[in-house]
Amino acid sequence: MNKTLTCVICPNGCQLTVDYEGVTIQSVEGALCSKGNQYAEQEILDPKRNIASSVRVTGGKAPLVSVRLTGPIPKKKIFDVMAEIRALSVAAPVEIGQVLIADVSGLGQDVIATKRIDRI
């Protein structure tokens, strides 16, 4: 089978052509770097994405702190992770890189703050 993908790893956005049979990748063409080959393989077998959102903050100078995951998670788990993020509220102060949810949904990645929010 042949599939055309856009690599989302970096702004180059390489157009990849993947030739595969079931779960066996036969060839990947069009990647400017080896990350593209890994991406294509991952994308065929089990697509993963990183997501960003925000979490409510109490007692802070801003009502929200922006968050992201430390690494990509399976695409089909995105809305499970979003539900956990939405249920969360943290108290200021919050530091950049602070872990707000460890091992979110048991997927091996943490939800970390990406902004500093000082106390009022």
């Binding site: 993908l5 856009t6 690599c7 989302v8 970096c10 702004p11 956005g13 157009q15 994405r49 990183n50 997501i51 960003a52 959102s53 925000s54 409510r56 801003a62 009502p63 929200l64 922006s66 968050v67 992201r68 695409k75 995105i78 809305f79 979003m82 950049i96 990406t114 902004k115 500093r116």
Partner: protein, 414 residues
Amino acid sequence: MTTQNRSVIIIGGGPAGLAAAAALRQQGVEDILILEREHDLGGILRQCIHDGFGLTRFKEALSGPEYAARFVDTVQQAGIEVMTDITVTELHADRTVVATARSGRYVFKAQAVILAMGCRERTRGAIQIPGSRPAGVYTAGIAQAYMNLKNIMIGRSAVILGSGDIGLIMARRLTLEGASVKGVFEIQPYPSGLPRNITQCLDDYDIPLFLSHTVTAIHGTKRLTGVTVSQVDSSFRPIPDTEKEWTCDTLILSVGLIPENELSKMAGVLLDPRTKGPRVDEHYQTSVAGIFAAGNVLHVHDLVDFVSLEAERLAESVGDYLKQAPADEEAVPVEADPELAYTVPQLVRADRDLTVSCRVRRPLNRVRISIWQNDQKHVTRRFRRAIPAEMIHLTVPKEKLVPGEPLKVVVEHE
């Protein structure tokens, strides 16, 4: 009112202003002042919470606030003077800067002024969509600020007009927050955002993208109830009998960005009709001596990494300018191929290493883009595909350049 003197005044504390300030300090420039109208430094990055920033610059994928924090920390650690909650209201050709804050009115005189005010969004008025004026019509950046900074959910079901990157990012953001995004409609026959954002913001969430379509009417009295969408022909005219009604409570406009020019115009800075920002030489100096510009105020960028790099190149020249105004090699034009929307810089003096940034007008396959001077080819880059969404950079070392001879940026099909 007393006038305060500064070596350098930077108008705007976003990515361009911060990078310029940090780089100037590294060169030993002491007397720098950043003027920022918001309460916090960081500019638009503060609301760009998605990741993917910094891959070029820091070799890792950061969110916008993290990328900004690295520069804010550098600026603060370097002890660079910053005033926030202050708005520059006047800029004059003699580099007088007038600013207003709650604490009063300030007048500064600078040896060099750096324009780093960023850009503004085109609005409903700019694209003249007919219909009523209900609530629920937002520009993409405003929608992003409400959701990511103010914790205000903007609607439940959205249509997005324009496939600019912020619109695509907001399509994903709304979907993650539980809203339904009906579709993205783009008037051009190709997307205006980056391919990776089409994949990770639309395709991932099964949000359809309709090319050669536009919104031709807006419905609703108090709140938006829906929009009419039509197909357009190759001259962007709506095709009769292609109208379709879409029910939605939110319309997001992602229809282009324009450099912020109010202060530049006040100072008499000449603008380039193609970039819609100041015309500059390779020192990023505008037509007014001692006034420099970099970042989105100069031309709208696709990646913040390139804004930082541009501001750092600017800082190099501003540093030299402070030591002694350049011996004024005659500036000659950079001629852009008709396939290119523009080049920055528009002029060269050939007295420093040159980086030319440009964009193609339409998607092109298999092209070579070269810089020529006097039948001498200085540099060539080959592209399997070049698209308007991606800025292209070409560099030429100073040694190769001949002062006084115009440059040509040439696009060749292979």
